[in-house]
């Protein structure tokens, strides 16, 4: 029997068996919290207008993409400026497979992930020889080359006109509506989160972190650098491919401008603001970056009623604000929103005592 104040999350280790020690959710309060969050997410579309559901869909897609990039950049330490292009590979795989070959979306979705993983792994091979700066440039080259291929392989991708998809269906159930798609995206996002959390409790995930912290030391302890770096690239691109495929299935129009270098930068910003090397951080970052333009627009509309013309200024400031926030986070809180939230929780854990 463990004695504990029932409302605090966790004040120390009280485990009495290995099973308990290995549990993802330590405290009963954590289980309750997760159950409450999932319950809230399931009930969410019932209470709000379709517009908010569509925003939630975009967030879900961004969460999957950001998780993928965080696996690579945050956990394995390999910077990538080509994430947007890998999402493009996923989206176009779905587009081509469903429109040209007539495959069902459900077959095309995993294939999109695999295709992106393959392409990602190929572009990950330079990471064996290159580090830091040079790797960033190599992935930038990957981005440009993939983008070029998408735009100019017109017979396959439709060029800048893009591909138009059929509405999604699951048997007789239509996923073309915002709400239908919401549950599907929620399921996949939860699966992605759980998989990622568990990945970093496994040998492979710990190997990734070892590679990030000191690759030579990792190699000495018997981690095959080649395998793990390519694996990290592949896995990250797999997430990107799934996110891209979902985006394609949701918007139903695939055009090259959804997958430019700006998108790659946006995902980098997500994981920086959310927190590098943190699963929860990817979620916070995806939320933040997806909501930022929406909130800004709301603010612009609100301010526009008082000051004529200020809304255009605010919207133009969007890019600037985006860059400013990235810089401020890098300077003042490099570990991102996840760390901020952790600090808040730590403060209240023993409140009102300081320790």
């Amino acid at each position: 029997m463990r004695l504990r104040f029932p409302f605090v999350m966790n004040c120390g280790l009280f485990t009495t068996s290995y099973r308990e020690d290995m549990a993802v959710l330590f405290a009963p309060a954590a289980k309750l919290k997760v159950a409450a969050i999932i319950g809230f997410l399931l009930a969410f579309p019932l209470f709000v207008s379709p517009y908010y559901v569509s925003v939630a869909n975009l967030i879900a897609i961004a969460v999957i993409g950001a998780l993928g990039l965080n696996i690579l950049t945050g956990f394995t330490g390999q910077i990538s400026i080509g994430h947007g292009a890998f999402m493009g590979v996923g989206a176009y795989t779905v587009g081509v497979l469903t429109t040209k070959l007539g495959l069902s979306f459900w077959v095309a979705l995993p294939l999109a992930g695999l295709m992106a993983a393959l392409v990602g792994a190929v572009f990950g091979i330079p990471s064996l020889r290159l580090k830091g700066l040079y790797l960033a440039i190599a992935t930038l080259a990957a981005q440009v080359i993939i983008e070029y291929t998408i735009i100019h392989w017109t017979s396959l991708t439709g060029g800048s006109a893009g591909i138009v998809l059929e509405p999604l269906r699951l048997g007789t159930l239509s996923l073309g509506t915002d709400t239908g798609f919401y549950y599907f995206a929620l399921l996949l996002t939860l699966a992605a989160v759980v998989f990622t959390v568990n990945l970093f409790r496994s040998r492979v995930g710990r190997a990734f972190m070892a590679v990030r912290d000191r690759d030579i030391a990792a190699s000495v302890t018997g981690i095959n650098l080649l395998r793990h770096k390519v694996l990290a690239f592949g896995l990250s691109a797999f997430y990107a491919g799934i996110a891209g495929a979902l985006l394609a299935g949701y918007t139903r129009v695939i055009t090259p401008e959804h997958f430019t270098v700006d998108v790659s930068v946006k995902y980098l910003a997500m994981i920086i603001i959310g927190g590098l090397g943190s699963v929860m951080g990817s979620i916070y970052g995806a939320l933040f970056i997806t909501l930022l333009p929406i909130l800004l627009r709301a603010l612009a509309d609100f301010a526009g009623t008082f000051f004529q013309g200020i809304e255009n200024l605010l919207l133009a400031m969007q890019t600037a604000l985006f860059g400013l926030i990235v810089i401020l986070f890098l300077i003042f809180e490099p570990e991102g929103l996840a760390k901020l939230w952790q600090d808040v929780k730590n403060y209240f854990r023993l409140w009102p005592f300081s320790y």
């Binding site: 700066l133 080259a141 440009v144 017109t154 920086i272 890019t319 600037a320 300077i331």
Partner: protein, 292 residues
Amino acid sequence: MFLQLLVTGLVVGSIYALVALGFVLIYKASDCINFAQGEFLLVGAYVALTLVAAYQVPFLPAVVLTLCFALVLGVLVERLVLRPFIGEPVISVIMATIGLSSLMRGIIQVFWGTDTRVFPPVFPQAPVHFGAVAVSQVYLWSLGLAILLLVVFSLFFKFTTTGIVMRAVADDQQAALSMGISVKRVFAITWAIAAVVAAVGGILLGNINGVNSSLSHLGLKVLPVAILGGLDSIPGAIIGGFVIGVLENLAGGYLDPILGGGVKEVAPFVILVLILLIRPYGLFGKEIIERV
């Protein structure tokens, strides 16, 4: 056709060389790449344009004013954005400059909008003829400037105290600090110089194509040039500029009909991947590179 492509490549290459010089200067002193280089170009071009077109300042004083502005901008950017990253890992610095590029692009948009603006003609319009090939004069100016800057900076890094101090800082910040070198001051100087060089490039480019926000993409396009020449080599940047300029024009001229256009845009990056795989330190770079 080959000759025309070759000459076009050479003249475009001289512009690339100018822009690549900015990358190399910053890399040489601070071991990081400035992904906002394209935005520095753009700011230079816009400021000069505004002075000339809106305030009717004659061209030469306008250039001088622009360069002063770029100097201040470079120092400010270093002080406000880059200074907290002294001694931080490369990944943070890269992301900070990416953030900076986004910040600057936004501010530029607020001030100047997104329309293409054209410089009032400054250089004589009549092209110069070399045999059968015609070259517009502005390219010759940029060629001359590139070579001039090459000489100036080569001498600067070789013979002046400031230049040697900058090289020392790039080599090992900690060691430089312990020798009593002010790394902060060196960084400020570097960014100021890089901003000035970018402004020169921006003014020249503005004279060729007009000024709009797509000018900033040139910043990324020039990365292959800097890598090919070797990130820490000034002659490398110049020669890399010419090589990439010629190669992309030849590739564009001969492969566009086969692959359906746009080869020019992607060719430098294909070359970049090859360089990175075979010779990551470039043609003239120091052969020390972090390998795994």
